[in-house]
Each structure stands twice: as C-alpha cells, then as structure tokens.
C-alpha cells in the first residue's frame, strides 16, 4: 500500500489539477492491475462499506496510545476528520517499515472483517497501526472510514485514465457510471471494447449545463439558435429501457428504479434501446408540486398507495441519448428532441412522460424578464440550449447554460459556530442562524459557505472572543452579528423549531450595517413560505 499512499499524498498535497492528473497517470503506469481497479473505485467515491464502527476505532486507538478516550474526542473536534485524528494518535513516525501489502490485499482483508468477531477486528487493526507509519495509517484509516476527499474530481480521474488507456474521456466516463463492485471487476472487464454489451443497465454520463454569470444578450448571439426551457427543481434522472427492463438513474449515479414504480411499465410502451434524460418531479393537474413533497416520498422505505397518490411523479423529458439501441448523442439537439417527442407522444404516457415545454420568447430582454419572474412560472429559471448541440459529458461551457432566478433571502442572527472539516478544519466555519420569534431566537438555517477567506478569518476571531458556551465542537456566541442568508426553496417542516426547512441555504453577505434586533422574524419566513406555495 506504500505506493498508493505516496500517490495519495502527492495528489492531496498538490494544488494544481494538472499535477494531480500527471501523478495519477504515473500511478496507473506503475501499479498492478488489481490495485488500479481499487484505486479508481476509491478515488471516484465508490467507497467500500465500513467494516468497523467509528466508536470502536477510537477505543482501540486510545488503547494503543495509552490515552483516555475523551482527549481523543477533543482532538477529533480540532482535526475534523476521524481518520486523520487517529493516524496522529497512533502513528509513530519512526515505525519499522511495514512490509509492502498491495492495496487490493488490504481492501480484501478489510472486507473479510465484516464477518470477523470484534476481537479479530481489533487485533487486525491494531496490528496494522503498530507497523504502519503515520501516512500509511492515515490512508488505511481512510479506507475504513470512507470519504476520500482529496480535491480530485471524478472528471480528473477519468481524464487520467483516458490518457493512460489512450481512449476517449466520454467512453471512460460511460464505463464508470453507477456503483460498480471493484471486487468483481478487472481493468479488462471495466474497459475492454466489448465489456459494455453485458452492461445494459449502464447510464450515459450526464451533460450538465454551465451556470450563466452575465446576461446572455452579450454573447449568446441570435436567440433563434437556442431552445429555452423552464428549469425545474426535481431529481435529474435517466430512464433506460433495454432488453425489456427499465432502469432509472439519478444524476448522483444511484439506481433509483425501486423508488419510482410509476415508470415500471415503460418497457411496454418504449422500444428496447431507449434512453431518456429529464427531470423527475411531483406533478398534479398540469403543474409541478413543491420539491419537499418528493423529498418526503423518496425518504420512505415502503411506498404506500396513499403516498403514491399524494405525490405522483412524472419525468419532464428533454433529451434522448439512445434510440433503437443506437447512441445518438452526436446528433444535433433539435433532431434528438424531434425523435423524443415522436417516441413519447402516446396516450398511455401522457401522465408519465411530459415533453419539456419550450418557452417561446423573441428577445434576450424577454428572457431576462422571464427569469426574474421565474417563481411565478413554477420554475427556478431557464435552461438555454443550443439547437445544434451534441449531448456532451460533464459540466462544460458553450452549448448548455442554466440561468437561475435570484435566490430568496432573509436576515438571520449568528447563534452557533462550529469548526468545519477538510480545508476548514480548525476554523470555525459552520454556522447556525436564527430569526426572532418574539424576543426568542429560533434557529432556521445552517450554512457553511458564502464568505470570503478574509471574512472567515475575521469571523473566526470574533467567535473565539465572543463564545458564551462550548458544547463539544459547538460554541454558542453572543447574539450580535447579522447575515443575509440566501436560499433556493422553502418548505414546511415539523422537525425544525422555525417551522420551515430551507433548500441550499448559504451566506449572501455579512450585514455589518445591521444590529441583531433588526434581523428578520419567524413571521417573515412564514410569509415567504405562503407566497411560494399559493
């Protein structure tokens, strides 16, 4: 595992994407095939399940280091990452060099631990720690706890693989879709020319629109070259019909077929070799329902007839990638759309597959106006797609743009701060905000981002000096600072004291001009909620 540790460190330490990719290509050239498969899985977030509980790991580390458990807890609050904390606690840097155990062997041994007794688990893990140096122990702990975030996107791994295998990126991306089992794959089964045939469940990599940062009139040219569609807030998904089977994938590459029984009849109406891209949303009487309704439904383990009736789902379809078993992603969008409409224009599909309606507007000024008032149109903005565009992979500039309407905002008072993780560990960057309910402050949102690095430093300092109480990693602070919180959606919630749950809350700006008493109230939140859900 030494070699994987080295490459892991190199990628982690580097701040430049190109250096990371170069290091990874180097790794692929040198590592053995079985290790490569695991490395690809791990680095693309296809992580194995935890064979041991975090609490056990802490306990075993405290035994090895001869330290009380509480000081390990406190250390964990400071570091913000369990794997790293434990590697410092147990890692002796002058350890005897561990004999090389290949990555795939370590991972297999960890997998075997699932069926082992607690004593065997303890023995195995402590033995590894005793022999490993700090760096190896860190990677080892990461393998156990999962969550390998090292600033390397899946797209970068794909790029490195494409260069190493001398293949096209989109081909590699296609083969790495979904959650595949690294224990059952080889480099051959993953990437050889004919390996796709047996994988009829595999979706295409999604093409993602780029956010538009300025008004489109300036640089998108003639409006007639573009399709305009409403941007709905649902689950981006892909419906696949192949060999009389239906598969539904989410953009997060999860197979969600079971969650959407509505779609199970599609193989009776669509020909084999059909792949449709669209937005899955709850829909009733010709209009979308709030996103929260679907969230509740997705969360359910068992779907009752009642919940199906309450939140009937449709797919708003906007693209067709495969037609009669042929990959047509290189066709112009206008042609793909024409075929799509032909396919789904059937009586039986009318309440299931809805063609994404085109918004007909004559000028970019009209587009800007529509976008400003998007919420009244039951959408969150516009998608702007070039009529001649092919279906690309990943997020790219040029052919597909999304132009979201401005977020909603509310002013909240900072009441709790907590240290962040990763890049922000050891800095107090996770904040909780509250609104007034009479003379009480009720929390309504947590936000992690939106401030500049400078502001984060300034706020961190303020929090340290204005801490009222500490509960583990959380500090309550003087109710003094006001922040404007932006969010994308708002729903009723019985779980939150404020009575609402926000979608994607983030800090829009620090309102240094406002005293706490002028922050918004719970009534203000309810007013926004009501205005949206009319």
């Amino acid at each position: 595992m030494r070699y994987f540790t080295e490459i892991f460190q190199a990628i982690d330490a580097s701040t430049k994407t190109n250096d990371k990719i170069t290091a990874l290509i180097e790794y692929f050239r040198k590592a053995e095939d079985l290790d490569k498969v695991w490395a690809i899985a791990i680095l693309t977030g296809n992580k194995p399940k935890r064979p041991v509980k975090a609490t056990d790991l802490r306990l075993w580390a405290s035994e090895i280091a001869d330290l009380p458990l509480w000081i390990i807890e406190e250390s964990y609050y400071v570091v913000g990452d369990l794997a790293e904390t434990l590697s410092h606690i147990v890692g002796n840097s002058d350890a005897v060099k561990q004999e090389e155990i290949p990555l795939h062997v370590v991972v297999t041994q960890l997998k075997d631990l699932f069926t082992a007794s607690i004593e065997e688990k303890r023995e195995f893990i402590q033995a590894f720690w005793r022999k490993g140096n700090k760096d190896e122990n860190f990677v080892f702990n990461k393998l156990i706890t999962g969550n390998f975030r090292i600033g390397l996107s899946k797209q970068s791994v794909i790029k490195a693989l494409a260069i190493y295998l001398e293949r096209e990126e989109k081909e590699i991306a296609h083969r790495l879709m979904g959650k595949w089992n690294p224990a059952k794959e080889t480099m051959e089964s993953l990437f050889s020319e004919d390996s796709l045939v047996s994988k009829d469940y595999l979706p295409y990599p999604f093409f993602l629109a780029y956010p538009l940062e300025e008004a489109p009139s300036a640089f998108l040219g003639n409006i007639d070259d573009w399709f305009l569609e409403k941007k709905y807030d649902g689950i981006r998904g892909q419906i696949i019909v192949r060999n009389s089977q239906v598969y539904v994938w989410s953009r997060g590459e999860e197979l969600l077929t079971d969650k959407f029984p509505e779609f199970h009849i599609l193989h009776m109406h669509l020909p084999d070799g059909t792949v449709i891209d669209g937005e899955i949303i709850p829909w009733k009487e010709g209009a979308p329902l709030p996103f929260g309704i679907m969230q509740t439904r997705i969360g359910r383990k068992n779907l009752s007839a009642k919940s199906l009736a309450e939140a009937p789902l449709v797919m708003v379809c906007y693209d067709l990638m495969e037609y009669e078993g042929v990959d047509i992603r290189h066709w112009p969008l206008s042609e793909r759309r024409k075929k799509l409409l032909e396919l789904i224009n059937q009586e039986a599909l009318q309440v299931l597959l809805i063609p994404s309606p085109l918004v007909e507007l004559d000028t970019w000024e009209d587009v800007a106006h529509f976008r400003r008032n998007a919420r009244e149109e039951f959408c969150e903005g516009l998608m702007i797609k070039r009529k001649s565009s092919p279906y690309e992979t990943g997020r790219r500039r040029g052919n597909w743009w999304k132009w979201k309407t401005d977020p909603m905002t509310i002013d909240g008072v900072l009441i709790y701060a907590q240290s962040g993780s990763g890049r922000r560990a050891n800095l107090l960057t996770d904040y909780t905000f509250a609104v007034w309910d009479g003379d009480l402050l009720v929390p309504f949102a947590k936000a992690y981002s939106g401030l500049t690095d400078k502001e984060i430093l300034k706020l961190d300092k303020w929090v340290r000096r204005n801490t009222l109480e500490k509960f583990g990693p959380v500090r309550s602070v003087k109710a003094e600072l006001v922040f404007e919180i932006a969010f994308e959606g708002i729903n009723k919630s019985t779980r939150h004291k404020s009575g609402v749950a926000l979608r994607f809350p983030r800090i829009a700006r620090w309102r240094e001009d406002k005293p706490a008493i002028e922050a918004n109230t719970k009534e203000d939140l309810v007013a926004i909620l009501n205005s949206i859900q009319q």
Partner: protein, 334 residues
C-alpha cells in the same frame, strides 16, 4: 504572589507584569514575538539578546533593562531571574521567588534544541505557567534532523526541476533556524525585508546569518533554483510573482493538520515548530516539579484536564483573550 489580571500576569509585591497586553509601568518581556512584546510600557526588562529586537519592533527610544540568563535582580524583596526557554533567540522563562515560594512563567518554549537559541532548562518551582499551543496528542513533532533532511530533498529537487524554493516561516525565530540549517549549503539565499530587518537587529547582538536582502532594485533574472525566505504575510500576495517559477512551503507546527496545509494552498508543509508538542509539554512540566500548573494560550481547558487526570497535578486553565490558531500565527509572522 502572582495574579492573572486583564492587563496580563502580575506580581503585586514587585509591581511588575510579565508580557502584559495593556500599557503598564514595568514589564518583563519573555521574548520578542508581537503577542508577548507589546508597545506602550514605561520600562521594559528582558534578556540581553531580546533588546535589539524590542527596539526594532517597539521603537528605538523605549527604556530597556537587560539581564543575562541566570542573573538575578531583586525588586522589593522579590528575586527575579531569566532562564533559557529554547523558543527563539533571547527567549526566557521568568523565575520569581518571594519568601521561599517560586513561580516560573515560561512564555513560549520548546524542549527540542534548535541549534540557534539557548536550549531550554527546566527550573524547579512550586507554580509553573505554561502555554498549550500544541497541547493535544495529535501534535507529535519529528526531530529537527528529519525535517531538515526532508527540506533539503525538497529544495534540491526544485532546483533540479528549475524552480525557486520559497520557504515561509516567522521572520523572528523560524527564519533564523532555517538559515542556520542552510549555513553550510552552497545555494544562494534571498530574504524578504522583514526577515532581513530581524537579521540586521540580531547582527547588533553578534549573530551573523547568511542571505541577501531583496530590495527594490533586485534583478529577478539572477534567480536560478535559489531559496527565498519570507514571512506568512506574502502568501497569496503579488510579491511572490517575482520568483516564478517557484514552489512554496510553509514551516509551522500547524502543518500537522491536513486542513491547515490545504488552507494555505501551498505545495508543501514542514512541521517545524518553535513550540512544544504534547510530549514535550508533558516532559517539561514534570521536570519543573511544580504542583500548581497554570495553563494558558492554546488548548488550555483540555490540557489542564489532562494534567489533572493523568498526573494528579493542580492544573488550572487561565482564560486569555487570545486563543492561538493558524490565523494568529500569520499575524505574528508580520
């Protein structure tokens, strides 16, 4: 005998403060870092080797009295002496004795010998005031030889690849340690103005560190896989562009943490510290034989609890206005 007041640590019998925050009449200064040596006091008392640094930072006209290590004076019956703290050049622990009771206020200190500052000496006492900047078991520093071996590898590789090496550390303390380590190498070394200023001040006290000041007229074409030493403040500033192509490393105890390393966005972090790690703290405190330990500056509540539970000491957390973290260190580097 000693009180913890808003102005700082105070000895009423002698009417002196140690490293006070707010302006006072008489201040004993443990060392020249800006979180200890504050401006505005009427009289300063410090170690001989701190004098020029204080004058550089606080003004040439301040009133400074100096002591050598182990040299004692008496103020109103209180015997006061300074002892090596091993933190930076001139850093001292302050020993105060009155009617048989002994207190030691250690300021910042480290047990490991950096080869530049006078090595730490444990001083027996009844009450010991300790910092706890790195008072958690996750801080477990490697010996200096190992870190410097890494550093040599790093800059030599950079040189080979045609890169300059920018090494970031405190201008007072770490910069001199690094220069001392590089003294024997034949590479060319350039210094940021802040570092060169400190070196000039130290020259007045008889130190001679190598390195050429980077002035306005500096010709960047001269650079060819060389070393530049600079304080934290240059990270992310346009000043660095002059040295392209370069690779950049930060030297700090905080580099233990992956999150801190990533936050700086630098190519390399060396865990090089002028403070004690957890083991050094434990060792030093045991060596003093003190039964009362006052813990400041860092993870005080956690570390005090550790001392009570593990060693049965009477350890008390002292709340300070200033909780050090990577950010404070940036300021100190200025």
């Amino acid at each position: 005998m000693i009180q913890f007041k808003p102005e700082g640590i105070y000895c009423p019998q002698a009417d002196v403060y140690i490293d006070p925050w707010l302006p006072v009449n008489k201040a004993i200064i443990t060392h020249g870092h800006s979180d200890h040596a504050r401006p505005g006091h009427k009289e300063y008392l410090c170690h001989t080797l701190s004098k020029e640094i204080l004058k550089l930072r606080l003004g040439q006209d301040i009133s400074v009295q100096t002591l050598a290590y182990n040299e004692a004076i008496s103020i109103n019956g209180v015997k006061i002496s300074l002892h090596p703290a091993g933190h930076i050049i001139g850093s001292a622990q302050v020993r105060l004795e009155y009617r048989g009771e002994v207190w030691v206020i250690s300021g910042d200190y480290k047990v490991l010998n950096d080869g530049v500052s006078a090595p730490f000496e444990a001083v027996k006492c009844n009450s010991f005031v300790t910092e706890s900047t790195f008072g958690l078991p996750i801080y477990d520093f490697d010996p200096f030889e190992k870190i410097y071996a890494d550093m040599n590898n790093w800059w030599q590789n950079n040189s080979k690849d045609g890169f300059n090496s920018v090494i970031i550390g405190y201008s007072l303390g770490k910069a001199q340690n690094i220069l001392q380590h590089l003294q024997a190498s034949d590479t060319r070394i350039y210094l940021h103005g802040a570092v060169a200023n400190i070196n000039d001040a130290l020259r007045l006290s008889g130190f001679d560190f190598k390195g050429e000041r980077l002035g306005e007229a500096f010709d960047r074409k001269k650079l060819n896989g060389d070393i530049i030493i600079a304080p934290m403040s240059v990270i992310g500033s346009p000043w660095l562009r002059k040295f392209l192509p370069y690779r950049i490393a930060v030297c700090s105890g905080w580099m233990t943490l992956r999150g801190a390393r990533r936050r700086y966005g630098v190519d390399k972090g060396f865990v090089l510290s002028d403070h004690c790690d957890f083991k050094q703290l434990n060792y030093a405190i045991k060596e003093t034989g003190a039964e009362n330990i006052y813990v400041t500056h860092g993870y005080q509540s956690i570390y005090a609890k550790w001392l009570r539970e593990s060693y049965g000491l009477n350890a008390i957390e002292i709340k300070t206005m200033f909780e050090p973290n990577p950010l404070e260190e940036i300021e100190e580097g200025l």
